[in-house]
Amino acid sequence: MSPLRLARAVARDLALHRGHLVLASLGVVFGTAAFTFLLALGEGARAAVARLLPVDRLEVVPRGVEVNLLALRFGLGSDTLDAASIAQLESVVGVAKVYPKMQLTVPAVLSGGEGLFGEAMYTELMADGVDPVLVAGDAGAGFEFRDLEDPNDPRYVAPSVSCVSDVDCGAAEFCGEVATTPERWCRPQVPVLVSRQLVDLYNGALRRAHRLPKLNPEAVLGLGADMNLGASMFGASRGPVRRVRLRLVGFSDRALPLGVTMPIGYVRRFNVAYGSTTDAGRFHSAVIEVAERSRVAEVAAAVRRLGYDVTDRGAERLTLAVTLVELAFALVAVVILTLAAVHIMHVLLLLALERRREIGLMRAVGARRADIRGLILGEAAVVGVLSGVLAVSLARGLGWAADRAALRLLAGLPFLPDSFFAFSWQVVLGAVGLAVAACVLGALLPAWKASRPDPAEILSGV
């Protein structure tokens, strides 16, 4: 039987037996919809975890020995990484790239917010510096995150306009000292990124405690605040206090969770200015980009063998938990689909019994057993495709409704994703494939049974 003739016969039979086939497909539709829904939920959870805790990147810190003395803990040995450490990490098999990170080791106080809150707000500021490549793409549209005062950058423009205050400078500039000289020049504001978690925390809990308005993250891009380097709210200031104007240019999940992240060149210069020249090569951690996600554990083990620690931000454990939940979901879905396959087998067996005379006649006029099997399996496959498409649509609809309900019920909680579901093309294709597999597997026995008897047995009712 040629594929074209098979398709014609299948189409005709589907139209003829649509009532039975709709009944047969109900189990598969609901089973596949449950499978798709649960799998998309698992994928959504995985995506949310990956967004909060990137699992293809490991943060490496020096391994130190710490000694507790009453309430205090003292570290023995170095707690920083140097250029040799970075080179050693780069040589680990499976490592794609190493990005050193440098913490700001100078106390600083952030002040600003008059325009937003009506009065100036002050807070101790934590900051770190990263290679802009690590957060590429996280700056908002029209903003850039790079070291604007790096003399080695061909785009660098040396300060040329002296000033007394910010009003003498351009919109994205501030009036500040260059190095340790007392002269003040118009300098570009320092671009910074903040974590989305910080915004969520502010909008969820902090603003309520201080009766402050909620922030629209997209509208605050470009706003500035002063970083008073050397100043501290915890104790005495260190060295001369210098004002640096920061400019918020974007949000990044790789930014410091409770602080600001700036291009590493700024942090290096600030640390050197308030410390010594050796601070230029002292990094507090390094982010390792792993070439393949599947090699994260292997790379982590190799890094530990070299004498470094991999900071556990819960990513590995959370990923494992998500995987286990996904497996549980998949198991539930497989059970549902198995029941659906049994259901479709039952209905198709009844249908084959009902079509016994028709099948006998087909055999009498020249159909091979394989033709009959092909016809029944072809019908099952088409029912599977249609059921799969319907199931995916149903799951998407349920997902949309669940998102709406959850976002309404959980409004105000931090770290909420836009959607709890991820209907990737792999999930959609997998769902349709599974529906087809369930239908075809369910049809195997009916197809075999329908094709077995001798035509005479059927046509004469022997």
């Binding site: 159909a367 394989a370 001798d454």
Partner: protein, 231 residues
């Protein structure tokens, strides 16, 4: 065209010696029309099913067009039925959901290679067969909309669809009044002359018996010759 030698067939509960067929020998040549008569339940339909390869639980030898049916695989037997045999069943077995022309073209669905060109070619040939049996105007009617005689002719047209060298008919005119039976018989005769195929009819109809070249009577599980009437 077809040769049976020592064919026996017994059903459950029957001893092999008491079966419905107890050593049937038969040979039908090209262009020959043979009528098989006998009382109801004597095994005429079973004999026809064995000749068509629909029933394989027999002993003995059945050779169609030089091919021993017992030696054929199921697929080869299906191909032989499609290419070399046309069968008209006593119950007709028309599919109620198909039109007359689609019923006639049913064998096309299972045709292989170049047996029949595309769907258009199949419909054209089905129409040709319907015209041959005088039903060209009723091609779009479903079996439920046709009279008994018309249904019988649709079944005949389906059996003729692949222009088979051997036509097997079970009570071709059994359910028809004499006048309609005569029409069907006339069509069968035209077809036989047109295609030159052999015909085996199982029948009670005296007119059909009269038209046959040879009449055989099935009794006691064996075939024996009976003289034909004047033709």
């Amino acid at each position: 065209m077809i040769r049976l030698q020592g064919v026996c067939r017994s059903f459950r509960g029957q001893q092999p010696g008491d079966g419905v067929l107890r050593g049937v020998d038969l040979e039908v040549g090209e262009r020959e029309m043979v009528a098989v008569v006998g009382p109801s339940g004597c095994g005429k339909t079973t004999l026809l099913h064995v000749m068509a390869g629909l029933d394989r639980r027999y002993t003995g030898t059945v050779v169609v067009g030089g091919q021993d049916l017992r030696r054929l695989s199921d697929a080869a037997l299906a191909d032989l039925r499609r290419r070399r045999l046309g069968i008209v069943f006593q119950s007709l077995h028309l599919l109620d959901h198909l039109t007359a022309v689609d019923n006639v073209a049913l064998p096309w669905l299972f045709a292989r290679g170049r047996e029949v060109s595309g769907h258009g070619g199949a419909r054209e040939r089905a129409m040709e067969m319907l015209r041959l049996v005088g039903l060209g105007e009723r091609a779009r009617a479903r079996p439920g909309e046709l009279s008994g005689g018309e249904r019988q002719r649709v079944a005949l047209a389906r059996a003729l669809f692949n222009r088979p060298p051997l036509l097997l008919c079970d009570e071709l005119t059994g359910n028809l009044d004499r006048e309609t039976g005569a029409v069907v018989l006339a069509r069968l005769d035209e077809v036989r002359r047109g295609y030159g195929g052999a015909v085996v009819v199982v029948t009670h109809d005296p007119d059909l018996v009269e038209a046959a070249d040879r009449v055989l009577e099935l009794a006691g599980g064996r075939l024996r010759s009976r003289e034909t009437g004047p033709s």
